[in-house]
Subunit: 460 residues, 2 copies
């Protein structure tokens, strides 16, 4: 039963499990205590910090352990912002950061700060030039992920770090998705990561703050972890996290090369095997184990259930799978289709057979969902009946508005227009994306008392 959602969480690496077992015996005491159990715990903590710092590429006294990657991001951003309060309250983030960064940015804005979101291209990457133009004399901190968690696109961190260094702005890098594959290149100032993404246990994040970076920890004081991460240290998990990081790094290059072949196969074959599919993310500058695609006329939640029944655990950035009814902010920022979205992230050790099995199961699962929705019968060619038609899709949820549009486009001649009324938030993203995929002209959106009217001109 292949699990292909390692970007969410990875099962515990065998080395992590061994280290955890040993540290539960040897490292349960308070490392601040003077007696032998405490001294033993202190030795384990020091060794774990050395190992993690080596993997990150920083000094041991620059690195602290936090209870999660989210805590590392929140504490890192809050401390860096406060450390530069005199410079100003301007924060720069990319539009495709992890929600932990964006939520911290929202909190900053709510507290009176200002936030600039740097847009990304259709592949999900920021441009260093555009990043540079967003920095001002009051920019306190800039944030950029090392690689995107939804589409796998690797960001130009080293170039952006240069741009930030030139402007004297510290760069915080969220390295959650990439740290297991290698250190983050470039002159970053603050780095956050999460152990359970590389096969370490949950309950451990890393926060590295380079010497010389102005940093003022926020929240109540606590003497542990250089005052940067309060609470009793989760030492057994920290030991396991450091041990597994070292272990996955030792095999990272070979495993990356192997998984890259499998991911390339998925990228190529999905486009051939499934009609009306869009593979998203950058073709080359990407994580080795992650690929994302979206399927037209498919409801993401139904597709996930279908794949789950077939034995494959994958994730989705479609709105229909979350409770918020909004599509993934990453796909929206990229301007790509979000309906029927599937993210495949292969764990280390994934075999070619497992990937081949997935490629067999996927077309069937997509076809089943489409059949339930009345696709493709609904899309069969019909003769044009009018120069322009209006489709009332109010109350219908993704992917129905796009299905209604696809059905209606055949009822107008080339040059004719279809107007779709929709109150589904996702239509704003998916109708233009559908036009781009199908070669039609998207004419724009007009607010209506209920929802919006989206106008499309048939071009082919």
């Amino acid at each position: 039963m292949p699990y292909f959602d390692t970007a969410s969480a990875a099962p515990l690496h065998p080395v992590a499990r061994q280290a955890l077992q040993a540290a539960l015996d040897e490292g349960w005491a308070d490392p601040a205590r003077l007696y032998r159990e405490g001294r033993r715990a202190r030795l384990l903590l020091d060794a774990a910090r050395e190992a993690a710092a080596e993997a990150v590429g920083c000094r041991a006294d620059e690195l602290v352990f936090t209870p999660s990657g989210t805590h590392a991001v929140h504490a890192g951003l809050a401390g860096a912002l406060a450390g530069r309060r005199r410079v100003g309250g301007h924060l720069v983030v990319s539009a495709v950061e992890h929600s932990s960064v964006l939520h911290a940015a929202q909190a900053h804005a709510a507290a009176g700060g200002t936030v600039t979101e740097v847009p990304v291209d259709r592949f999900g990457a920021v441009s260093p030039v555009e990043y540079a133009s967003s920095l001002t004399s009051t920019t306190a901190v800039a944030c950029l992920q090392s690689a995107n968690h939804e589409v796998g696109t690797v960001q130009p961190v080293a170039e952006v770090a240069e741009v930030c260094a030139a402007a004297g702005v510290p760069l915080l890098v969220d390295a959650a998705q990439s740290l297991g594959w290698g250190p983050v290149e470039g002159r970053w100032s603050v780095l956050a990561a999460s152990a359970h993404k590389w096969g370490g246990p949950p309950g451990v994040g890393l926060l590295a703050v380079r010497k010389g970076v102005r940093f003022a920890p926020q929240g109540p004081a606590d003497e542990r972890e250089s005052g940067r991460s309060p609470g009793f240290t989760n030492l057994p998990a920290v030991v396991a996290a450091a041990a597994s990081l070292r272990a996955v790094r030792a095999e990272a290059d070979a495993e990356a090369a192997r998984l890259r072949v499998l991911v390339d196969r998925i990228r190529r074959r999905v486009a051939r095997l499934v009609p009306d599919v869009e593979v998203v993310g950058h073709a080359d500058r990407r994580l080795p184990h992650l690929v994302t695609f979206s399927c037209l006329y498919v409801d993401g939640e139904s597709l996930l259930h279908g794949l789950d029944r077939a034995g494959y655990s994958v994730s989705s950035g479609s709105s229909c799978t979350s409770s918020t009814l909004t599509p993934s902010h990453v796909l929206r920022a990229m301007g790509v289709l979000s309906e029927g979205n599937v993210r495949v992230s292969l764990p280390r050790g994934t075999s070619a057979e497992e990937v081949n099995g997935f490629l067999e199961a996927l077309p069937r699962a997509v076809a089943e969902v489409r059949a339930e929705l009345g696709v493709p019968e609904a899309l069969s060619a019909t003769p044009p009946v009018a120069e322009s038609v209006e489709v009332d899709a109010l109350g219908l949820r993704c992917p129905q508005p796009v299905i209604e549009l696809a059905r209606a486009i055949g009822t107008v001649p080339v040059g004719g227009t279809v107007t779709v009324l929709s109150d589904d938030e996702v239509a704003r993203l998916d109708i233009p994306a559908w036009c781009a995929m199908r070669g039609h002209d998207y004419l724009g959106e007009t607010p209506r008392p209920l929802g919006s009217a989206y106008r499309v001109r048939r071009a082919v």
Copy 2:
């Protein structure tokens, strides 16, 4: 090699270890995901929440898991204060709260709030009447620990909760030290606890917020744990924490009765076996497994090392064992001796033989430290030489100023005075405490250009 510092951290309970193992296999995935690994994780999380809520005595939807007891306190206090912002910014805490509470109170004060510390009696207990008098019309929140972590004194939580309820003020209870022994009685509003104190794994705290309590989570938004605890849930540890809480509760009454006998033995015998010792904390209203005493003319760190060499791991609230050079705020608030302080907290399963062994080793260890310091020769009776003497103890650290005082008291007649010059912060606590123990009159303190002058009149 007996470990007698379970109030700091307890080794993992066997049930916790079993549950952790199982949950590492079954509960590593994201409980928010739709596939089978996610659903399995969700079931485990729901079951752990039910079990923990039952042990706490609240509804499952009132309880969230945090990464530590400290996080539970910080998040609970911040949320409760923000929820009552309109009422005012006044916070009431006892003077003997855990540092996590006091640090959060300091952060509140730094942000413009006001804080009242309710004093305690010589046994470390607050008085509900005094607590009531500290509540004002602008009091947003009140905090009280269920039992003190340094001296074991159980606080009158139910009575204080009534007083708070009458004033319409929510009471936050830090139940870290007591939750393994039983639920917190009374009408508390918010409760925080820490799993590694009851033999659960590190990395898990509990935060319970009663329905109807105004609560506004602070910090960046996060959809997990009802928005009250950000970051990926440490599910294996949460499962282990809940399982071990249930297990320790099942045996709590019997084990409490057994350990209470052993602690009573320590309380009685220490006073007989060790000259010049003060047992602190309440004799009856106390945790079953914890006893604290202070030894005159002893440096706490040396005593801890001596006991460690003899095979006993204990803790100390003496200044000489911390990096801060200030004595425990708990002992200071109680006004009791802090020098040579030893806290013994017995783990479940401690045998009578282990306790007897400790009672044999302790007098030897104390005698060794005193011999090194030149005690008791220094204290041998000398004929009075003057009506008043001044002792220069500047630059000397605890316990030296008190030893100098004890040596000098024989050099004045009854009715004569000894003035001790000291720049050691601890003298302010320990000189009056020594007077009380020895039956001399403490006349007060006068600031000097360097340190202070402490005046003592010989009375016996």
